[in-house]
């Protein structure tokens, strides 16, 4: 039986990568004009399946039908011709090209052998109007905000007359307002007969936008459902394969002695502007101090100053009872400070290095990993295998470049490295940004575990839910200053939100 409303069917898709069965007999279909969400954790095989549909990978087995007819896809060209368009998670745009150049690339219109930029601009403007996707075709893509770049990607597919649109993690990089705008655009598209595959790992989003939801786990389809039949908990359980605790379970904190004290710290950013303007706080052993705030209120610079990556322009800091103002990261690490940086790929890992080496990045020169300046491969290997086991890092071997791991597993490599030696203070900046439910749950548990072992924790996060779930005390940062510090549980979400937006406490 063939359902005539099906525009796309993938039957029995199997794809093997070295060490991983990325897609295992996957079946997936899409009806005309629907939004079909594909939900799954990082590494579940969603992106692999879409890359097969889009012709970037070739499946080992299985067939693909478009409008009821089987097609062979050798390259993206074949998919584009079949009416499939894809907006990749990392945009496939060339920053130094204009919007028009980016859109026409690969499907150029020429006149007498020269590019016909005018005609392209006209087409782009037509599409812009038709779908409410406002862009200026002559603008340079590199100078556009992320939300607009995404619009360019969508226009790119429409320019190629795509009737099936794949959106890979489209909201991962968007602000809430930009995400709202995207949802509006997606509905606009489906009303005009475009069918959309919406890939995500965000549960709330799926429930609000999808017509149908298919959940993938470990390369297999777990099931297909609709928002009406399910809820966040059921979806999370399908995704992870077990009951997931979306709230963090933690006992009362037993704070000990003061481990970190910061007094009137001032820090300048790269441009020389003072973004931290006199911040004072202290952290005691065995408590979590959450620093809440909208991104860009000085948190990045504050953490960099605390970890010795950026000199403070004023103020003092005592760590473990000693004045450690302006000390090097190495000395701070040796004194017992651990740091989970905000940007794990740029500041947390050396992407080209194997997992094993990344796990000794801060201790490689110490025994047993380095003796008389020589690396000790056997000790590094033992360490890596132990940490991979203890921290459940999913990697085919300790010797694959860490860049090949999923975001969640990359973060686990950092967490494993930072928490595996004797520490007194953990500074975690946005530790779960961009991670899937399973990894978030895992990292939250680790942080609470550290606290219960008597380690002081500074948790910086822009996610209010995360701050509220983990912190024992909450400091709210606004424009480079701490507006107020309160005990967790004594304050509502709304109140915190107001302070983060600049309202003064006591008003």
């Amino acid at each position: 039986m063939t359902d005539p409303t099906l525009v796309l069917e993938a039957k029995g898709i199997t794809k093997q990568f070295p060490g991983v069965l990325a897609n295992d007999n996957v079946n997936f279909d899409l009806r005309k004009g629907e939004i079909h969400a594909l939900l799954g954790e990082n590494g579940a095989g969603k992106t692999t399946l879409m890359n097969i549909l889009y012709g970037l990978y070739k499946q080992d087995a299985g067939e693909i039908l478009v409008n009821g007819a089987a097609i062979t896809i050798h390259s993206p060209r074949d998919s584009i011709n079949a009416g499939v368009g894809m907006v990749h998670q990392h945009f496939m745009l060339i920053p130094v090209f204009t919007i028009a150049e980016n859109i026409m690339l690969g499907d150029e219109t020429t006149k007498n052998g020269f590019l016909d930029v005018k005609a392209v601009c006209k087409r782009v403007e037509e599409i812009s109007k038709q779908y409410g996707l406002d862009v200026d075709p002559t603008a340079l893509v590199g100078q556009l905000p992320v939300g607009v770049q995404q619009r360019v990607e969508i226009i790119k597919t429409l320019y190629r007359k795509a009737s099936i649109l794949i959106l890979d993690e489209p909201t991962a990089v968007l602000t809430p307002q930009e995400a709202e705008d995207l949802f509006r655009i997606v509905h606009e598209l489906t009303e005009r007969g475009v069918s959309v595959i919406f890939i995500t790992h965000k549960l709330k989003e799926v429930l609000s936008i999808a017509d149908r939801i298919t959940v993938m786990r470990a390369g297999k389809v777990v099931g297909t459902t609709t928002p009406a039949e399910t809820d966040e908990h059921k979806l999370a359980a399908m995704m992870v394969g077990r009951e997931v605790i979306l709230t963090v379970d933690k006992a009362e904190a037993k704070p000990g002695e003061e481990i970190l004290k910061v007094e009137e710290m001032k820090v300048n950013d790269v441009r020389g502007l003072q973004t931290v303007r006199g911040v004072s706080f202290q952290v005691r052993a065995g408590e979590i101090l959450g620093i809440a705030g909208v991104q860009g209120n000085g948190q990045t610079e504050l953490v960099e100053a605390l970890t010795g990556l950026r000199p403070a322009a004023g103020g003092k800091m005592w760590f473990n009872g000693k004045d450690m103002t302006g000390k090097t990261p190495r000395l701070l690490t040796e004194t017992g400070m651990a740091h989970i940086p905000e940007d794990r790929q740029r500041h947390g890992l050396v992407l080209a290095y194997p997992v094993a080496d990344n796990m000794v990045l801060n201790t490689y020169y110490q025994r047993p990993f380095g003796i008389h300046g020589m690396m000790q491969p056997a000790a590094i290997d033992r360490n890596a295998r132990k940490l991979i086991q203890d921290f459940d890092v999913r990697t085919p071997s300790p010797y694959v470049p860490v860049s090949k791991l999923s975001g969640g597993n990359q973060q686990k490599v950092i967490v494993a490295r930072e928490l595996s030696h004797d520490i007194k203070l953990l500074i975690a900046n946005q530790p779960t940004r961009g991670l899937d439910v399973g990894s978030i749950e895992y990292i939250h548990r680790e942080i609470v575990l550290m606290r219960d072992r008597g380690i002081g924790v500074v948790l910086v996060s822009a996610e209010l839910d995360e701050i509220m779930a983990l912190s024992d005390r909450i400091a709210v940062m606004y424009r480079g200053q701490i507006v107020t510090t309160v005990a967790a549980g004594t304050v509502s979400r709304e109140q915190l939100g107001l302070w983060m937006a600049g309202a003064h406490p006591g008003e």
Partner: protein
């Protein structure tokens, strides 16, 4: 390229010209010196211009090419060899021999580039190492064959360097006549005679200038150029819209190699009718510097090549005016000092006095799916 960069280039060229005019003013009219400097500058900038275009095609497509020097050197040799072989052994007329020599030079450049493409695109060898391989290979092959073919007893030329079929002839563009036809004063005729020479250039010099213009249009106004730049900036993005990244890179590198081949032909088929080991003398590297200073644009690269050309023209003219150099400029009588000018300029320019240039984002990175 921004106007500041062009202004900087213009200033240096004016400065170099001024020095020669001041030094030579005792012996010659300034206008004649300027015209002669201009003619020399354009001519000697040719291998640099072509070398820079060679780098441009490769790097815009994302392949770093430091093998321009080697491609030029080997093309210079095989172009010359082809011409002599046709002329001496097959007894073809001089002009036909030279043209076949030219084709040999182009093919040699293209083949060397094909090797570089295979190394860096298919085998993903570090592209600096790939380029170095090309350079060393060229020095070895040309040096060895030069000795074996021409100086070894019993070689095809019988151990004697045969008489070369000459060089490609000057193409006369009747600018002088055009000016003279409207002239009334003697000064006007002097100007006409002086500047008429600027336009009497040989075919490779003229093609280099045409190729700068053509390359500009190809790169920025055509489908091929758009795709080439896309492949050099973000190959994955190009792949997702169905562009064959590997093919684009191969073809562009080979085109680049042929540019270098033409540059090599300039040395032995147009500039002088002979080959000497290492005769490219670092021009390939200066060309690379010119391309970088020109911010990976054809006109920018050409302008930068003209700076180096002017420095070389200065060196040549200093020899002409050597005896009339005033005492306080005595240092300029030392040919070593003057000979250093192009190389010193390279260093100054590359230190980034005029701001940083931006290379294609994926320059030097092999593409892996």
């Amino acid at each position: 390229m921004d106007w500041k960069r062009f202004l900087f280039i213009a200033l240096i060229i004016v400065l170099l010209f001024t020095v020669v005019v001041l030094v030579g003013s005792a012996a010659q009219k300034p206008i004649v010196i300027i015209a002669s400097m201009l003619a020399t500058t354009i001519a000697v900038a040719t291998p640099l211009t072509l070398g820079a275009l060679s780098g441009l095609y490769c790097e815009r497509a994302g392949v770093v090419n430091i093998g321009i020097e080697g491609m030029m050197l080997s093309a210079a040799f095989f172009g010359w060899f082809g011409a002599i072989y046709m002329n001496t052994i097959l007894k073809l007329p001089a002009m036909a021999s030279l043209l076949i020599g030219l084709v040999c030079a182009l093919l040699t450049g293209g083949l060397m580039a094909l090797l570089h493409a295979a190394l860096s695109i298919t085998f993903k060898v570090d592209q600096i190492i790939g380029g170095t391989v090309i350079n060393i290979l060229a020095i070895g092959i040309t040096g060895f064959l030069n000795r074996q073919l021409f100086f070894e007893k019993g070689s095809i030329f019988g151990g004697n360097v045969p008489h070369a079929p000459g060089t490609l002839p000057v193409i006369h563009i009747p600018i002088q006549e055009a000016i003279e036809s409207v002239c009334t004063s003697e000064t006007c005729f002097t100007i006409a005679r002086a500047f008429g020479k600027v336009f009497d250039q040989r075919p490779i010099v003229i093609s280099a200038i045409l190729l700068v213009i053509i390359t500009h249009f190809v790169l920025f106004k055509t489908r091929w150029g758009l795709r080439t730049r896309a492949v050099g900036e973000h190959p994955r993005a190009a792949d997702t819209v169905g562009i064959n990244v590997i093919m684009m890179r191969y073809v562009n590198v080979v085109i680049g190699g042929m540019m270098a081949g033409l540059g090599g032909a300039y040395f032995t088929l147009e500039s002088v009718p002979s080959f000497e080991p290492l005769m490219t003398n670092g021009r390939g590297f200066i060309a690379l510097a010119a391309m970088i200073f020109g911010n990976w644009t054809p006109f920018g690269a050409w302008a930068a090549s003209l700076v180096f050309g002017a420095a070389q023209a200065l060196q040549i003219n200093m020899q002409v005016f050597r005896d009339s150099i005033p005492a306080q400029w005595a240092i300029l009588q030392n040919s070593y000092v003057v000979g250093l000018t192009p190389y010193i300029l390279t260093m100054i320019i590359l230190t980034g006095v005029i701001g940083k240039t931006v290379s294609p984002a994926a320059d030097g990175q092999p593409y892996e799916k």
